[in-house]
């Protein structure tokens, strides 16, 4: 009895950990893809930016939560600059944005390698661990799970309860009419891209204490981010969140049964199946049925 409770707790922890990583990796990518149709291959570099800035700030004595938010803010500002200089010129040319953001990604990783060297001293994972049924679990991982849920909640409030949310939803649905009604759609796109980049930076800042800081660290988020966005489709709440739930069950199940590699393979198989039966993802299916 106690044993099976321990097993349930262990699975829930694995599931929550996988869910948090999927949500936090993907939501920035999902905002930019869902709102602007831009596939941002530099997503990982905004994550890296958040991780580096927050770690630097923490080393300089800034308290952790503030350092993480600072990392997100810097990534967001970098995102708005990239939007202004590059992405804005490439709307309605999706293939060109893929190539351009891929180029930015390579320039940034190589540039960081030259400027800051192959790795940066991290900050250790805070808060230590707790023990359930003879196994020890990280407290910080629980904080990451709560952060993922809080991020979804804040995004939901932002898109449904604020003027920015209203105007940004109008802009995705019928851009030319939003513009003709007095909405500065260029500004909406710029802020949206900045928001997506800031969410990536937030993921980087949150996970920085748990990993080695190298210029290519963004790549280790990319598989989860893309798998979640492809399975979820263009809508964060109807797509990304449910996709992360389903994928987290698959990943946690396979990982606790057969180990890390099986979890990764399970995600890739899931995405191949979903592309076959739901080419526009979960949210594409829901939205089409709603008409």
């Amino acid at each position: 009895m106690v044993d099976s409770l321990n097993l349930v707790f262990s699975f829930l922890y694995q599931f929550g950990d996988a869910f948090a990583f999927l949500v936090l990796s993907a939501c920035g990518l999902a905002v930019i893809f869902g709102m602007m149709g831009v596939i941002n291959l530099a997503h990982g570099e905004f994550i890296m930016c958040g991780a580096y800035v927050s770690t630097r700030a923490a080393h300089a004595g800034v308290p952790m939560p503030l350092a993480i938010l600072l990392g997100a803010a810097c990534a967001g500002i970098a995102g708005m600059i990239v939007e202004l200089l590059v992405i804005r010129r490439l709307y309605q040319r999706p293939l060109d944005t893929i190539v351009a953001t891929w180029g930015i990604s390579m320039i940034v990783t190589q540039g960081m390698l030259i400027l800051l060297g192959p790795s940066m001293q991290g900050v250790g994972t805070p808060f230590g661990s707790f023990v359930v049924g003879g196994y020890s679990y990280s407290v910080y991982r629980i904080i990451l799970m709560l952060s993922a849920v809080a991020t979804l909640a804040v995004l939901w409030l932002m898109f449904t309860r604020t003027r920015f949310g209203l105007l940004s939803r109008a802009t995705i649905q019928v851009p030319h009419v939003a513009e003709a009604l007095g909405v500065n759609t260029n500004l909406v796109y710029s802020v949206t891209f900045g928001l997506g980049a800031a969410l990536a930076g937030l993921a980087g800042g949150l996970y920085a204490p748990t990993m080695t800081l190298v210029p290519t660290m963004g790549a280790s988020f990319m598989v989860e981010a893309f798998v979640t966005v492809v399975v979820g489709g263009a809508d964060i709440f109807l797509g990304t969140a449910p996709a992360a739930l389903i994928l987290a069950v698959i990943k946690a199940g396979l990982t606790s049964w057969q180990g890390q590699l099986a979890g990764q393979i399970g995600l890739l198989i899931a995405v191949i199946i979903v592309i076959r039966i739901l080419p526009r993802g979960i949210s594409g299916k829901i939205l089409r049925e709603r008409g």
Binding site: L166, R169, A180, L181, G182, L287, R290, G291
Partner: protein, 237 residues
């Protein structure tokens, strides 16, 4: 300057990419006027509306609003000068609620105008009954009322309506015409509307321009509008 027109369009050329459609459009609308633009399908009426609001660039010619040149401004800046554009086919935001659609229209003024939502609900009670329904599920007539209510939310000084009667039941067409005439009489709202429906033209227009092959080819007075046969000849092939 009482004789500065509300809208002055001079030698306007425009179209889609390399394809010219407007070939030197000249017309004006005075303060407080309701003016119809009529003409057969494909002569460039919708292209004219999109060029006036700034969704299409003008290649030559000028547009002045109350003496201010606006053809060099982006569409959202023109809207913010008080122009409410209601596109052909309505183009409501389909996955937003009726109320949310109305709230987007506040961007024309850049602020919430006190009492305006109640006024719009007064003109179009259906928009209050269906406030939380998604706009894409409304009927064509309801969507047209929503598209008009949406621009009224921004308290515009003029509206551009592109074929407001298209695909709508006659009683709703009459209702919309009555509200526009009433708003014009009470507040001096300027109205430019593209229309092919004779009843709506006669119910609303104080003057009328005829468009053909990208140009204004005739200007009709209110008296001319009572000549049914003449009007019909401009609209049919």
């Amino acid at each position: 300057m009482p004789d500065t027109p509300l809208l002055q369009v001079t030698g306007l050329n425009g179209g889609y990419g390399g394809k010219p459609v407007l070939q030197g459009v000249d017309f004006h609308v005075n303060e407080g006027e309701i003016v119809a633009i009529i003409g057969r399908n494909g002569v460039g009426k919708s292209t004219l509306m999109k060029t006036l609001i700034g969704l299409l660039p003008n290649q030559r010619g000028t547009v002045h609003l109350r003496g201010q040149q606006i053809d060099n401004l982006s569409a959202h800046r023109r809207a913010r000068l008080g122009i409410g554009y209601v596109p052909q086919g309505r183009d409501v935001f389909p996955r937003m609620t009726v109320l949310e659609n109305l709230l987007v229209g506040q961007s024309i003024s850049g602020r919430k105008i006190d009492g305006m939502l109640e006024q719009v609900h007064g003109h179009f009670p259906i928009l209050q009954e269906r406030a939380s329904q998604r706009a894409g599920t409304l009927s064509g007539g309801q969507q047209q009322q929503l598209a008009i209510g949406r621009v009224l939310m921004g308290g515009p000084s003029m509206v551009l309506l592109d074929e407001p009667s298209e695909g709508i039941q006659p009683n709703i067409v009459q209702g919309i015409a009555r509200i526009m005439v009433d708003l014009n009489a009470r507040t001096g709202l300027g109205v430019v509307f593209v229309e092919q429906n004779l009843d709506m033209i006669r119910a609303m227009a104080q003057r009328c321009y005829v468009m053909d092959k990208g140009r204004i080819t005739a200007s009709l007075t209110r008296a001319d509008l009572d000549d049914q046969d003449r009007l019909r000849s401009y609209l049919s092939v």
